[in-house]
């Protein structure tokens, strides 16, 4: 593969902008994906993702290196997404996501596609802490330790929230199957 994240960051701090751009290319899809899962909104993902990388670009010197670069990057993405949520709440543009009704399923074209859609929609309905834990684990593939680093949670809390998130997902999906067609 390429150079390690921390090495690229180090090169950037020595003045190599291309090294930083390599980090952007490496992580842009994952940051956008994380932001989408947090905001449940595709349209804002670009802005928030860009702001994330700009923040990292500005604050690179502050990175102490006791955790991984990517846990720091994801933490900044989460903070940026939460800033956007607060702005949104002030504008009162969104109802509480927990009260959002279950949307009508899209046209059923393929069994596998349908399952993916359902799980993604169920993820949107999870409690925020559970959703965050599940996204970092199952979507971003972080270890428990990295999730603990990223969020500042104890390891036990990480494990518990991943577990409860999965139980909640399972319950939501089972409930949906049991619902009559609307």
């Amino acid at each position: 593969m390429g150079a390690a994240d921390e090495e690229l960051l180090s090169r950037y701090l020595d003045g190599d902008e291309r090294a930083f751009e390599e980090l952007v290319v490496r992580y842009e899809a994952r940051v956008r994906n994380l932001v989408i899962r947090l905001l449940k909104d595709y349209s804002l993902a670009e802005d928030v993702a860009q702001e994330t990388f700009l923040t990292v670009h500005r604050r690179a010197r502050n990175f102490r290196g006791s955790g991984t670069f990517r846990s720091w990057l994801f933490r900044i993405a989460i903070n940026r997404a939460q800033d956007e949520l607060r702005r949104r709440n002030r504008r009162r543009e969104v109802e509480l996501e927990r009260d959002r009704p279950w949307p009508e399923p899209a046209a059923r074209t393929h069994e596998g596609l349908d399952a993916r859609w359902d799980t993604a929609r169920a993820l949107d309905a999870l409690r925020p802490e559970h959703r965050l834990a599940i996204v970092l684990r199952e979507v971003e593939g972080l270890s428990y330790r990295e999730i603990a680093e990223t969020l500042g949670w104890p390891l036990g809390t990480v494990q518990a929230r991943i577990h409860r998130g999965r139980l909640e997902l399972r319950a939501l999906l089972e409930e949906k199957d049991a619902l009559p067609r609307r």
Partner: protein
């Protein structure tokens, strides 16, 4: 009825247990249909998740443009909204002067530097969407 310590099932499928513990759970799962079913359903959840976005080669190009913009240019707002944004900026500055020790949106980046999200505790009650996070230990305050 779930077994006690069923949290270990999650840790097991995530390969987060020590080898000794993993073996113990594996043996248990073999004998316990409830836990076996739980592990299996958790694994199939994983198939429904994953990256939903494709890599976007244009992203880094747009990043370069934003990075190279002069600082005074208002990035997030169109130029036609600039007077409105200027008015909002004045209002925000007045708020800062009026409440010297309170944190506002203008100090978001400073808060980033110290990873301090305790502002959530001081603001008006936040909706459940937001998650209070501890300071990030890997960043210089």
């Amino acid at each position: 009825m779930l077994c006690r310590d069923d949290e270990k099932i999650s840790a097991w499928i995530d390969a987060e247990l020590s080898q000794e513990e993993a073996e113990r759970v594996a043996i248990h799962v073999e004998r316990c249909s409830t836990c076996r079913e739980l592990a299996s359903s958790f694994r199939s959840l994983r198939e429904g998740l994953g990256l939903e976005v494709e890599p976007d080669p244009g992203f880094v190009v747009r990043f370069r443009e934003r990075r190279d913009e002069p600082l005074w240019k208002w990035r997030r707002v169109g130029l036609r909204l600039l007077p409105f944004a200027a008015g909002a900026l004045v209002a925000a500055l007045i708020t800062v002067w009026a409440a010297a020790q309170q944190e506002t949106d203008l100090t978001v980046l400073e808060r980033e530097a110290i990873g301090n999200d305790t502002v959530f505790a001081r603001a008006t009650p936040e909706p459940v969407l937001l998650i209070a996070l501890e300071p990030f230990p890997g960043e210089v305050p």
